[in-house]
């Protein structure tokens, strides 16, 4: 029983998150519909809050239950037409969803719990709910020949919608349809979708097959701009009758309304299942282990080669190749299952921007692009906070006040653009603002003041960007409420690096700033180059590898006590991989010693890793490593590359971070 209770609790968090996400989307939709809000949408919002309240109440999450209860009361009045939709109400709904999200977080995090106070919000909701009723409903249903059976089956809400339709002069029609039992649901959804284009299906009442057959009949109560004949034309399978005692004399032409998206989304939602991400991780681990098994099969096949008969070997090779293909399919499918569109967090971001813009008294337009770009579910979750922070920064520091913008000849409304797109096996996310840009001098002064650099250090643009990400840096003279929160860009950078991604900044003073985040699509299984250095093997993620070259010792030069190599007329800093992990010293080797350079890149910086040999390319599964190695820079984890052979996986970004790299387009060696 307790375990089942746990199941319900776990399901609750997942379902509550889904409800709140869909609420956010519906609110955005509500906002975009302006004056012509579709009743279906208001009812959907009501139902989401209603479900949330029911769930939270049953499972004892009293904070969420209470807030959603108050909200539900207000929404009930809204859908019943007792209060009107306006700006204040939409704002209130957004704030409520915010608080509900926080309360949900608070379930698992006592630190958050202490921060959530909904007293003020609750009194705002009460105030809103007690606003003057819009108008009183009179018994207009007397104007209809509505049979008792149908009338009694209406919920209070449906009855209200019927009254509204009568009041606004719609045709009130009854459509009777009969469908075969096997597919009545599809048929009914199809006809409902068609009808919803020109009106509202108020109630759907099932009954015995009216034709006496084995199917099932439905009576659809339909309020519409279409008259009896027009409705019969778009729903030829239905028997249509007009319920008005005195039908309208002139039928207005059916307006071309947009497609009922809600109906569509309801259908598209049904064939999905929700799965705990931990289960997918487990499947992924199994796939990873299968891949290792397959590598061993390859090894065995190779070792058999000289002694066995050709036919047997061919057979074995063929099996291995087929297995390889199927494994690839399996792996790709599992990765795909974990993928979710980044648009899932867009709603949350736009909510934050609205709120911040209001607090800062700035006018901001948020442009969101590439919402269909997919990323691993886990990464999407981890990405929300860093993105939020960068956007906050843009609003707070980047975008100028309207007055200043006008003086500069810019549009008064500041614009923040978020664009996500796929590039090979990476996803790029650009956050661009058209604000004042980053001034290297301002950065320098701030850095000196905070003791990060000495006053005689020169700060060019590149160095300024680096300082931005330095711990303890913040350009605002006082830690502002917005960007403050005790978190700096250094934390953002660390978060992104934990996702094996990179973050770079590019700015044009006066014109704006772009933060570019590049992330691998998934962390689970990656292609890697296995190399040997100092007698040990290492795996370098292929996504970070640009190319590899063979050189001799004599090609290596030393500039400013640092080994470099001239590649296509530019200077590439080198790092002996073995040195990086303290495995080898002394470079006094004969000038004709052979080396390999693996040219790696992380974001805008590159470095040449000097290794003894390239072993092969293969798929690896990165596993976490023990605490002892966690603090060693340059290591992403460990992986098994064959029969109990464990190697370290290189984290190129943190390696460059620690040992310096060369920025793209510049020819100087690194500056540390």
């Amino acid at each position: 029983m307790t375990r089942d209770d746990d199941r319900a609790r776990q399901e609750f968090t997942g379902e509550a998150e889904e409800l709140l996400d869909s609420l956010s989307r519906d609110l955005a939709e509500l906002e975009s519909q302006g004056k012509d809000v579709r009743p279906e949408l208001v009812n959907k919002i009501f139902r989401s809050v209603h479900s949330l309240k029911g769930l939270a109440g049953m499972l004892g999450f009293s904070g969420i239950a209470e807030l959603s209860h108050n909200l539900e009361d207000m929404l009930d009045k809204l859908r019943m037409g007792k209060i009107a939709i306006d700006r204040d109400l939409v704002d209130l709904l957004y704030d409520s969803v915010d608080s509900l999200n926080r309360l949900l977080l608070a379930i698992n995090d006592p630190a958050v719990a202490a921060l959530v106070d909904v007293t003020k919000l609750t009194s705002r909701i009460h105030l809103m709910a007690s606003r003057q009723p819009q108008q009183k409903e009179t018994d207009v249903l007397a104007a209809l020949t509505l049979d008792e059976h149908t009338r009694r089956s209406l919920t209070e809400y449906e009855e209200h919608r019927l009254v509204e339709n009568v009041r606004t002069g719609k045709h009130i029609l009854m459509l009777e349809v009969t469908f075969a039992f096997v597919d009545f649901d599809e048929q009914l959804r199809a006809i409902t979708a068609t009808l919803s284009e020109s009106g509202e299906v108020i109630s759907t009442l099932p009954s015995l097959d009216a034709t006496g057959g084995a199917g099932i009949s439905f009576r659809l109560l339909y309020g519409s701009t279409l008259n009896e004949q027009a409705a019969a034309a778009i729903a030829p399978q239905a028997k249509v009758s007009d319920l008005r005692v005195a039908p309208l004399s002139v039928a207005p032409p059916p307006p071309a309304t947009e497609h009922d998206e809600e109906e569509l989304s309801l259908r598209s939602m049904s064939p999905t299942v929700r799965v705990d991400i931990a289960r997918l991780d487990h499947v992924m681990n199994i796939v990873g282990e299968l891949i290792i098994e397959k590598t061993q099969l390859d090894n065995v096949t190779r070792s058999l080669a000289p002694q066995q008969s050709r036919a047997l070997l061919q057979e074995l090779t063929k099996i291995a190749r087929n297995l390889d293909r199927k494994l690839n399919d399996l792996q790709r499918s599992v990765v795909e299952i974990r993928m979710v569109p980044i648009g899932q967090i867009y709603a949350r971001l736009s909510r934050t921007v609205r709120k911040l813009a209001r607090e800062l008294n700035k006018e901001i337009e948020l442009v969101l692009r590439g919402e269909d770009t997919e990323l691993d579910k886990v990464m999407i979750e981890e990405l929300t906070d860093p993105l939020m922070h960068i956007i906050r920064n843009a609003l707070d520091h980047g975008i100028e006040p309207a007055e200043e913008r006008r003086k500069k000849g810019k549009a008064a409304v500041g614009r923040v653009t978020l664009n996500a797109y796929q590039q090979g096996s990476s996803v790029v996310i650009d956050v661009r603002d058209d604000g004042r840009g980053i001034d290297p001098k301002g950065i320098r002064d701030a850095a000196v003041k905070r003791g990060l650099i000495t006053s005689d250090e020169d700060v060019d643009a590149q160095r300024a960007y680096e300082l931005l990400f330095a711990p303890g840096f913040s350009t605002a003279s006082a830690v502002s409420e917005i960007s403050g929160r005790g978190v700096g860009l250094d934390v953002v950078k660390r978060n992104i690096q934990q996702l094996k991604g990179t973050i770079d900044v590019l700015s044009e003073p006066g014109a704006g700033t772009t933060f570019r985040i590049i992330l691998p699509i998934t962390l689970a299984i990656i292609q890697a180059l296995i190399v040997r250095a100092g007698g040990e093997k290492f795996a370098i993620p292929l996504a970070s590898v640009e190319e590899s070259l063979r050189i001799y010792s004599r090609d290596i030069r030393t500039v400013e006590r640092r080994e470099v190599f001239t590649l296509r007329e530019s200077t590439l800093p080198l790092l002996r991989l073995a040195d990086a992990f303290g495995m080898q010293d002394g470079h006094d080797e004969p000038p004709d010693t052979k080396h390999f350079i693996v040219l790696t890149r992380a974001g805008e910086k590159s470095i040449g890793l000097l290794v003894d040999a390239l072993v092969r390319q293969q798929e690896i599964v990165i596993k976490a490593i023990g605490e002892r190695l966690k603090s060693v820079p340059g290591i992403a984890g460990a992986t098994e590359i064959g029969e109990s052979e464990i190697v370290l996986v290189i984290d190129v970004a943190s390696l460059i971070e620690s040992f310096g790299g060369r920025a793209r387009e510049t020819r100087a060696a690194a500056n540390r």
Binding site: R7, E11, S153, L208
Partner: protein, 125 residues
Amino acid sequence: MKILVVEDSSSMRAYLSTIIEGGSESYDLEIVEASSGFEALKSLPHHKFDAILTDINMPDINGLELVSFLKNHPVYSKIPIMVISTESSEEDRKRASALGAEEYLVKPFESGELVDKLRRLLRVA
């Protein structure tokens, strides 16, 4: 005993089923879950239900419409129905009993309350 639970929220379904199973030591029990009114309608010909528990607020057809269908059906009208909904739907509760629903349970409820009412509905000790 075979019971149909109609509820669009999966966690609420899980919770209801858990309580019902927990309170069924004295009788054999099979629970069929439906996530919408449509699913409920589709399941009817395949089972012989001893009781039906349904939510009111659901997409496609709602609980009242389901009750209305069942109580006007020559075969299914004898199946006892318990409507489960929230206190804010007081008016709808009245309508459900006018349509012939036998029991009503208001969310949030104590698990004992559900077990007792279900026993009454099933006429088991």
